[in-house]
């Protein structure tokens, strides 16, 4: 968005139907953590799939379950990966219907929508990812993308916390990130059984661990997680010396259209669907609504 208030974008020339979803086929489903599943899918139409694959990290798509409705879902895959998938927690009627689907079933998708992370603006910077619970879903795309282009970014750190070890998302990725050279990955859980050998505590407690040094200068911090975690992490980051404009997050709102028309996600001067979902903390503060 142009915060000076000018409309800089020109309207799309071709008259395409912005509300028309395209049929998608579910390839397989993987159970991640309780109530959360990952759905691997592709468009029935190969041309559509190729067009869709040009999405940017941080964008989202509208998922249609006909007869139930449509909902916005973040895109956890990086455009550099082959497969397209959604990771969805079951919370409402649409997500419940999606959770019922089996491999081979059809649904529909349209998108990608939203601004996404401006990955080009982060060239030459350190990237610090702070995620809580399923807050890792929208950040995954950005992490995988950054690791795919190690020459473009400096240090990459991941701080990830969940309630219990059972609720850690994307375990294969976490293992990979912990072992790879180009990234420092720290994990924590709020509560743990004896079998857990890692850190116990909120995600912010990782910043103060011995051996952990968070770069502050020339760094972008990505924060995603439940509201309470978000508030505390922001406090920690600001205390460390991060500027509000260098802290980035993604917002979620009730949405119907995803293209700035239905009006549901409009907060302050921003439509979360077209001006977001990625905002800096500086912008979020100005929007003036609860996270």
């Amino acid at each position: 968005m142009n915060w000076a208030g000018q409309t800089t974008r020109s309207p799309s020339a071709a008259t395409e139907n912005i509300y028309l979803p395209k049929v998608a086929v579910l390839d397989r489903v993987s159970d991640d953590i309780p109530e959360v599943k990952t759905f691997y899918w592709h468009f029935e139409d190969a041309a559509e799939q190729a067009k869709f694959k040009r999405f940017r990290p941080g964008q989202f798509a509208q998922v249609s379950l006909f007869g139930i409705g449509e909902f916005p879902a973040s895109l956890p895959p990086s455009p550099t990966e082959d497969e397209t998938f959604f990771t969805i927690r079951q919370v409402g009627s649409c997500t419940a219907a999606l959770h019922q689907l089996k491999a081979g079933d059809r649904f529909a998708v349209r998108g990608p929508y939203g601004n996404g992370f401006s990955m080009e603006d982060y060239y030459g910077k350190n990237l610090v990812f702070v995620a809580g619970g399923i807050g890792l879903i929208p950040l995954r795309s950005c992490i995988v993308y950054a690791l795919k282009h190690p020459d473009r970014y400096q240090r990459i750190q991941i701080f990830y916390g969940s309630k219990t070890p059972k609720e850690l998302m994307y375990l294969p990725n976490l293992r990979e990130w912990q072992q790879s050279v180009g990234v420092e990955c720290y994990q924590t859980v709020d509560r743990a059984a004896d079998s857990w050998s890692g850190n116990v505590g909120v995600v912010g407690s990782l910043f103060k661990k011995p051996g952990v040094q968070v770069p502050v200068d020339n760094t972008i911090a990505f924060v995603c997680g439940p509201p309470i975690m978000f508030r505390f992490v922001i406090k920690d980051l600001l205390a460390m010396g991060f500027r509000e404009g260098d802290i980035v997050s993604t917002l979620e709102r009730y949405m119907k259209c995803g293209v700035g028309k239905c009006g549901h996600c409009c907060i302050g001067v921003a439509y979360v669907c077209v001006d977001g979902p990625v905002f800096t903390y500086e912008q979020i503060k100005k929007l003036g609504e609860d996270i």
Binding site: T7, P11, S12, T15, G69, G92, G260, H264, V274
Partner: protein
């Protein structure tokens, strides 16, 4: 002179001309008292069209953005899904649309067609729409208690954006064309060239008409400034919110409101249709997310939203017009008296009273 004159008795012949050109013509009719509405003109009801009448509460916006509009039809068979968009592309004319509602359509055009994404459903309905504007001149019939278009600078006579504008000069009517489609009607011999004296008479009548509006001091500029700068006290929003009954009426009658919700409904064993339905930011479900979290729980947060969206400078610049056209419908239907003119006044007074910058 661009303007034309026509006899009083010939005004409805314009409706006939449009119908001969295959337009579905909608025009205003009246029942008893304040009961007025737009309806499809037929041979049977043609003579009952009203040129002067109180503007119907149900705005002609619905001819572009129907209350319920089907977007898609979806059929399922053998595990396959077939999605078919359903378009309506009628050739329609609205006869007797008031200047405020014309400004509403101007705003909708900016919103639905002028931004990143064009709305193809709106575009198709808009493409062949002919707008025959009637200027409000009758202080008894046309100008209602709540009308305040002079404050929103949209009326009583629209300056642009009509195909044809008609104005009652007493003994005869003046017609002005705004587009080639309107100009084409002037080929009919019932239109005569207007004289300078008649144009002068138009000016005189408009000057006089302006005196009949009850609300002429809705101070939008001050309120737009206060809203845009975030100077409005939480207390003021709460007072406005306390008076809101959350009926959504203001949004349903508003010619410039754009929000809709989308819903799927089963229409056959293997067939569903996806429709969009007008939605209202006053309703608590408007922002409630799956899982129950609602960022706008308090009524006043939702009222705040409506007026912020309509009055903030950022959006005025984005759509090139304020999302209020001064029709006064919200003021007429609101049970809590928090229609636009009252809110503008409440905000201006409360904020000015709080202003510590008095220079004395």
């Amino acid at each position: 002179m661009k303007a034309r004159m026509l006899d009083r008795d010939d005004v409805l012949k314009i409706v006939d001309l449009l119908r001969q050109q295959d337009y579905e013509v909608f025009a205003p009719f009246s029942g008893r008292g304040r009961d007025t509405w737009f309806d499809l003109v037929t041979d049977e009801n043609r003579d009952r069209i009203q040129v002067h009448l109180p503007n119907p509460y149900y705005a002609p916006k619905r001819f572009l953005l129907p209350h319920i509009e089907r977007l898609l039809k979806v059929r399922r068979s053998n595990g396959e899904i077939r999605i078919e968009p359903t378009y309506r592309e009628p050739k329609r004319a609205i006869f007797g649309i008031r200047s405020c509602d014309l400004a509403g359509i101007w705003h909708l055009d900016r919103f639905y067609l002028g931004r990143d994404f064009r709305d193809v459903y709106y575009e198709k309905r808009r493409k062949n729409l002919f707008l025959a504007n009637v200027v409000c001149t009758d202080p008894e019939l046309d100008i209602g208690e709540e009308c305040f278009c002079p404050c929103a600078d949209t009326g009583p006579a629209a300056r642009d954006y009509f195909d044809l504008q008609l104005m009652d000069l007493g003994d005869e009517f003046m017609a002005v064309a705004g587009t080639p489609a309107g100009e084409a009607l002037f080929a009919n011999p019932m239109f005569r060239k207007a004289t300078e004296a008649q144009v002068e008479k138009r000016r005189a009548i408009l000057g006089e008409v302006r005196k009949h509006f009850k609300t002429t001091t809705s101070w939008f500029p001050a309120t737009v400034r206060y809203v845009s700068q975030g100077n409005i006290l939480e207390k003021t929003w709460e007072e406005i919110g306390n008076r809101c009954l959350e009926c959504g009426g203001c949004t349903y009658v508003c010619p410039a409101c754009t929000c809709f919700t989308v819903s799927d409904r089963q229409v056959g064993p293997d067939e569903i249709e996806r429709v969009r339905i007008w939605d209202a930011c006053a309703l608590s479900g408007f922002t409630r997310m799956a899982g129950g979290f609602n960022p706008r729980r308090a009524v006043h947060d939702r009222r705040n939203r409506r007026f912020f969206r309509k009055l903030a400078h950022y959006f005025i610049q984005r759509e090139l017009s304020m999302a209020c056209v001064g029709c006064g419908r919200c003021a007429a239907v609101c049970h809590g008296d928090v229609g636009m003119p009252s809110v503008v006044e409440m905000i201006r007074r409360a904020t000015a009273a709080n202003d510590k910058l008095e220079p004395v």
